[in-house]
């Protein structure tokens, strides 16, 4: 993996020792919903694969709604709808499935569609070392990091909203192409095209402002 990533591994289905179908999501093996599990197993299995996705759902929801309370409401409604629709889940790409429900729920809640933005005023902690280095950042490095951070935020605002959304969902929020496509409701190929253009234009902005020249590796 070239970029650091916490991207989800697609779920894999298999037959368990008792012959029931099971599903592996990350390191969790759960009785597949829709098998002969009773209601308790159904709820428990659902919790096991959904709970690790709550932080991601909240981050994406905040991007969609622009508000922490609204984001929490949206995720809560998404969880309830997902639970009701669990029989439609095919056992693969759990996060993408949840993000599709999140997107549709947001639309169904008649929320005003807004472009996905980065939070204003984000500047990383001065104690955080420069890229890939293990030493404590000097005052000069910290100043350069802050300057680079501000230039990136300015560059993001210059992008076409469609391109910016793809870039934020993938590079900031860590979604993969399919998950991003689920949130935006577009094909994966469209995501790749928008992402490529977004990165190219952001890089051009940073080159033009000399931000990349001054930034340490």
């Amino acid at each position: 993996m070239i970029f650091p990533s916490d991207r989800v591994t697609p779920g894999k289905r298999s037959l368990g020792s008792n012959g029931d179908e099971t599903m592996t999501v990350g390191s969790v093996n759960v009785a597949l919903i829709g098998a002969d599990a009773d209601g308790g197993d159904r709820a428990r299995g659902f919790r096991e694969f959904v709970e690790p996705e709550i932080p991601v759902l909240l981050r994406v929801a905040q991007g969609l709604t622009g508000s922490k309370p609204d984001a929490e409401d949206l995720v809560q409604e998404t969880l309830i709808r997902a639970f009701k629709a669990i029989d439609q889940f095919d056992g693969a790409y759990a996060r993408a499935w949840l993000l599709t429900i999140l997107r549709n729920t947001n639309i169904n809640m008649n929320r005003r569609q807004r472009p996905i933005l980065l939070e204003d005023g984000l500047v990383w902690d001065s104690a955080t070392p420069a890229f890939g280095t293990g030493h404590e950042a000097s005052a000069e490095e910290t100043a350069i990091d802050r300057s680079f951070s501000l230039e990136i935020q300015r560059g993001l605002k210059e992008l076409d909203p469609r391109f910016r959304e793809a870039l934020i969902l993938i590079d900031v929020q860590g979604l993969n192409y399919a998950e991003c496509a689920s949130v935006l409701g577009v094909p994966v190929g469209t995501v790749m095209s928008r992402l490529s253009r977004a990165r190219k234009r952001l890089r051009e902005y940073l080159v033009n402002t000399s931000a990349l020249e001054g930034h340490s590796k």
Partner: protein, 90 residues
């Protein structure tokens, strides 16, 4: 002036550069494509610089993501919602 053949190869590689950088499961390069990109990067200073810049950008953007972690209380409340889900309510 850049050799036209070299420019064409550069363009070809640039179109694959994002896939090379992401290694996304939906757009993995084949072994042959991967070898072509790596081979090209060895000889093309311009594309190597692009890769370096994109990696710096990606690291910076990731750090924005790290700074946007959701509120612990929100996560706890939503876990409680999960705990309250009951199949009899379906």
């Amino acid at each position: 002036m850049m050799n036209p053949l070299f420019a064409m190869r550069c363009k070809l590689t640039t179109r694959r550069l994002q896939r090379y950088l992401d290694m996304d499961p939906d757009a993995l390069l084949s072994e042959k494509e991967l070898a072509q990109v790596r081979s090209h990067l060895v000889e093309c200073e311009r594309c190597t610089k692009s890769v370096d810049d994109y990696r710096r950008m990606n690291s910076a953007l990731r750090r924005f993501g790290d700074a946007q972690q959701p509120d612990d209380l929100s996560v706890a409340r939503l876990k409680a919602v999960l705990g309250d889900l009951n199949p009899r309510d379906l």
